[in-house]
């Protein structure tokens, strides 16, 4: 069963039950009050009847100047009184043996076994009023019965009055209440239905929206409408959708990067392989290979094999970097730069490039070998970009709480498009040049990995023809 159906049905049941209970209680209460009033009326009627009977008896006794009246005389008096009573007010007088002396104008009422049994149960000693309602041929009578003593003799007196009207009224009221109840239940249920559906409508909107997200549409956002709970829910769902979207985008980016990496790797591997296979095949199948040709073919094979070797070496480094934990120790930045300079000396001398260092003494927590290889790669790139006789400036200092190493060359520089892509694996600004130098396009990708492991970021400023500055920004947390 759906939520709106549950809410609707349970509310409707409660309301109907409440209406019915209240109306039944009210009706019963009114009915009881009317009955009470009717009872006191019936008692007054009885008292009048009893008094007139007693008075007649006393008067008759005084008139005949006797001490006692005979049963027959009593009977006469009783019959006289009965004759004087209106037909609508039946009454009866019984003697002490519960035998009727005189009876009402509606005999069928008193021939009822029920009444006889009732009369027989009433003790003569009691002088309280016994009131009971009898049903006699579609008419209801309220019967008042009590004992009366006249000169040592007890009589049982009974009066009845028609109270049918009260009960008809009650059944009429019940029917009316039922009708009103049905109509109001219909009206209430209609209003309730509309209210519940309106209140729960945001829920179905949220539902459609959730389905859409589950279906892969991460872009949609829900409008915040409806009651506060729904607005909150909508907001939280939007937050959820945001994070799903960003995660999906991130995963997509990772998958895409990986795809690009593999495609580039395949290309980078196949290019030297093509030359190697081609030249080797030529050496194998050609009949006459001159010495110069053989030297050229074999030379190319060696060159391309070296390229493959460098590629596989760099790849291994890249893979190893991803897996192993670095062993960090406190190391001084100027010291590492000094060491790197020493290992770069042959290259520096070959290109007649000089280094100038202006470094503050900063100690960071780093894996010395890895960090030196990061510096080596970047300074090597700077040397390659420089012309003969140029200078490379290396500066190290603190900035905004982070340690910053800036390596500036005044060489060829590169365009903005190249500068954007230069950290991507296999990206080479000048393919043929770097291939001749044995580059695989992985140096800076490797540097990025090393930087990541040292909580550092690499950025780059470059202008075509003027030079490049690479910044290594090491987070303050790593500084000691």
């Amino acid at each position: 069963m759906k939520l709106w159906q549950k809410i609707f049905l349970s509310s409707l049941c409660l309301i109907i039950v409440a209406i019915n209970v209240i109306s039944i209680v009210l009706l019963n209460n009114t009915h009881r009050l009317i009955i009470e009033r009717e009872q006191s009326h019936a008692i007054r009627e009885y008292e009048y009847f009893a008094a007139s009977f007693a008075n007649s008896a006393v008067y008759e006794r005084l008139r005949s100047d006797r001490l006692f009246l005979s049963d027959d005389e009593i009977r006469e008096i009783a019959e006289d009184i009965m004759a004087g009573r209106p037909k609508t007010q039946p009454a009866a007088i019984y003697d002490s043996d519960k035998q009727p002396i005189a009876e009402s104008p509606i005999p069928e009422l008193f021939s009822l076994d029920e009444l006889e049994r009732y009369v027989s149960t009433i003790g003569l000693a009691s002088d309280s009023y016994n009131i009971r309602v009898f049903n006699c041929s579609d008419t209801r009578y309220m019967v008042v019965c009590s004992t009366l003593k006249i000169e040592d003799k007890s009589y049982l007196l009974l009066t009845a009055s028609d109270v049918s009207e009260i009960f008809t009224l009650r059944s009429k009221q019940t029917a009316f209440v039922r009708q009103v109840g049905i109509i109001s239940a219909a009206v209430i249920s209609l209003i309730l239905l509309i209210t519940v559906i309106l209140l729960l409508r945001p829920l179905s909107r949220l539902n459609t929206y959730t389905k859409a997200i589950a279906g892969g549409n991460y872009k949609i956002r829900i409008r915040k409408r409806g009651s506060r709970e729904f607005r909150e829910l909508a907001e939280n769902m939007n937050i959820m959708a945001d994070s799903i979207q960003s995660n999906a985008a991130r995963l997509e980016k990772i998958a895409e990067d990986r795809q690009t990496f593999i495609a580039n790797l395949a290309h980078e591997m196949k290019t030297p392989l093509t030359s190697i296979l081609g030249f080797a095949d030529l050496l194998r199948i050609k009949k006459n290979v001159s010495d110069s040709e053989r030297a050229e073919y074999a030379g190319t094979i060696v060159e391309e094999t070296k390229r493959l070797r460098s590629l596989s070496g760099k790849l291994m480094e890249l893979i190893a970097l991803g897996g192993t934990e670095t062993e960090k120790k406190p190391v001084s930045i100027p010291g590492m730069i000094k060491d790197t300079e020493t290992s770069l000396t042959p290259l520096l001398q070959k290109n007649s490039v000089s280094l100038s260092c202006d470094c503050e003494d900063i100690t960071i927590s780093a894996d010395e070998e890895l960090f030196k290889s990061l510096l080596y790669n970047i300074i090597e790139n700077a040397v390659k970009a420089s012309a003969i006789g140029q200078k490379i400036d290396i500066k190290a200092g603190m900035s905004d709480g982070n340690a910053v190493i800036a390596i500036t060359d005044h060489g060829i520089g590169m365009s903005k498009e190249d500068a954007k892509k230069v950290f991507e694996p296999f990206y080479m600004v000048d393919k043929s040049r770097s291939r001749k130098a044995g580059g695989a396009g992985l140096g800076l990708a490797l540097c990025v990995k090393i930087a990541q492991q040292h909580n550092a970021v690499l950025t780059l400023d470059s202008e075509l023809g003027k030079g490049t500055t690479v910044y290594i920004i090491i987070s303050g947390e790593e500084c000691l």
Partner: protein
């Protein structure tokens, strides 16, 4: 003389292709980027273009788009094994594609197929006293017709087209019997022996141990 334009950014590969072409006496011209390659293709008269896909300045597909009106057949050289790339190349009007890395003879075989399709290969080959008419399947020795089975004919034609090149049994099998043929290399040996016997090429069509056969060219003797 067949002129072939090589558009390939890796200079070593370009050099290798040129050397491969030279052994069947084709003349190769190299261009190292897409732009100059396209200009050269439109300017010169070439029988075939070997076009790399990943090129600086203009990629292979763009070059293909530029030169498709000059009617020169194109074979793509690609490092990609992506089917979509191959389909794209062929749809743009390329005759064939070769996936890098490739063997020299595979390149030559594909070039031959394309050249034959565009009727640029010689139809009549003479070798000493032998004259072979490829289109009419007739071989004469000093004017006397020699009876050869179709496969034997294909074998001698293949050797004549690849003189001085060592040809492995596998190469012959795949080129003449098709890649699907799963016969043994004995089949090749029997056919080669038949050709030798029928055409008197005992000294010319020599066996190279562990490799295959080679038909020595006439002029080097």
């Amino acid at each position: 003389m067949i002129n072939i334009l090589i558009i390939e950014d890796d200079q070593n590969i370009a050099k290798m292709i040129k050397a491969t072409l030279s052994i069947v006496n084709y003349n190769g011209t190299c261009c190292y980027d897409g732009k100059s390659g396209a200009q050269e293709a439109l300017r010169g008269t070439y029988d075939l273009i070997l076009l790399d896909v990943m090129l600086p300045e203009m990629n292979g597909f763009e070059v293909m788009d530029t030169i498709k009106n000059c009617g020169t057949p194109v074979i793509f050289l690609t490092a990609m094994q992506d089917v979509a790339d191959k389909v794209k190349g062929l749809r743009l009007g390329a005759e064939d594609y070769i996936v890098k890395p490739f063997e020299a003879l595979e390149l030559l075989a594909r070039i031959d197929v394309v050249l034959r399709r565009s009727n640029k290969t010689q139809n009549i080959i003479t070798y000493g006293s032998l004259t072979v008419d490829i289109s009419s399947h007739i071989i004469t020795d000093n004017g006397e017709p020699v009876q050869l089975t179709p496969k034997e004919f294909e074998v001698i034609v293949y050797f004549l087209q690849h003189q001085d090149i060592a040809i492995s049994r596998e190469r012959l099998l795949s080129n003449i019997w098709g890649y699907e043929f799963e016969g043994e290399s004995r089949t090749v040996d029997i056919h080669v022996q038949q050709v030798r016997r029928k055409l008197g090429l005992k000294d010319k069509l020599i066996t190279i141990p562990k490799l295959g056969y080679r038909l020595e060219s006439q002029d080097r003797i």
